[in-house]
Amino acid sequence: MKHLTEHILLLSLALGLGTGCTAVSQAGPLSSRPFEGNQVYLSTGASPRPYQTLGFVQATGFGNQVAGVITVGDAQLDGTIKGALVNAVIKMRGDGLINIEFLDENPQTPAEQMGDLADSMSVDKNGNREIKTRWRSVHAKGEVIRFL
């Protein structure tokens, strides 16, 4: 009984320590201030000039992470914001996108990635190997504006 309790405690401790980890998602720079240039103005904040609101846009990039290390699909911050959202702004004939909010909805920590890789490489009792995949999605939205 004592051994069982010790094992349970150790298991809980290992789970607690082993599963906690930090994931950092990054994307390239948006527009700086003062803003000069002809490209679409992008900011998580306000507009640098007076503007007219044209509307609102949101996009979600979906993808998969295969075996913890290979990312396929569109679940990247840069692609979602500078690709999908900017294309939508251009279609709306806007000059910029302000108050951008974004979220990498299920970022994988290094521990999770290593776990998926180990799972994908291991063989079960029947000699089968199953490649582990995880659903990934990145969400972003903002306000489409035209400078006056």
């Binding site: 349970i8 298991l11 809980s12 401790l13 789970l15 607690g16 320590l17 599963t19 906690g20 980890c21 930090t22 994931a23 950092v24 998602s25 990054q26 994307a27 390239g28 720079p29 948006l30 527009s31 700086s32 201030r33 003062p34 900011s43 998580t44 904040g45 306000a46 911050l77 914001i81 108050n99 909010e101 974004f102 979220l103 990498d104 970022p107 920590t109 999770e112």
Partner: protein
């Protein structure tokens, strides 16, 4: 028969009251992060700033963990740890002066759920995480942090 119905009603009311007392509550999480006027450490704001700056990129940090015995947060999945242990070092690593338009979210767990987890601790189900997002910026030379005033 009537006594049985009354007794059943009383038990139901008692159960509802118990459930309400356990589940009706407000959970508050705070992070103490005073701004430094001398800019020795990066500034953090949920708003925008006036004045020129260079955008260094978007940043999201996520800390994931498990509440051991329902209460013990071994790795720090609260907003205080998220800001001080992960976000600030990342801003410094990117050579930023600060981070603007910050949004944050921490998993909040009912005390009742924590008690249940403490009782059934071998089954780890209390996964928690904190997520913080923002735009890392570098101020123009001589620039200072002045928030954009919001007019209602």
């Amino acid at each position: 028969m009537k006594t049985n119905i009354l007794s059943a009603s009383f038990k139901t009311a008692l159960a509802v009251a118990c459930c309400a007392s356990f589940t009706a509550c407000t959970i508050v999480n705070t992070a103490v992060l005073p701004s430094d006027p001398k800019m020795h450490s990066p500034f953090v704001t949920t708003g925008d700033i006036q004045g020129p700056y260079q955008s260094l990129g978007l940043l999201q940090i996520t800390r994931k963990g498990h509440l051991l015995f329902g209460f013990v947060d071994l790795v720090g999945t609260d907003i205080q740890t998220g800001f001080t242990e992960t976000l600030m070092p990342e801003v410094r690593r990117l050579n930023g002066d600060g981070i603007i338009n910050v949004r944050f979210h921490q998993t909040q767990v009912l005390p009742f759920t924590q008690v249940v987890q403490a009782i059934f601790f071998p089954i780890p189900f209390l996964w928690t995480e904190v997520t913080i997002t923002g735009e890392v910026v570098k101020l123009a030379p001589g620039g200072t942090v002045q928030p954009v005033l919001q007019h209602g």
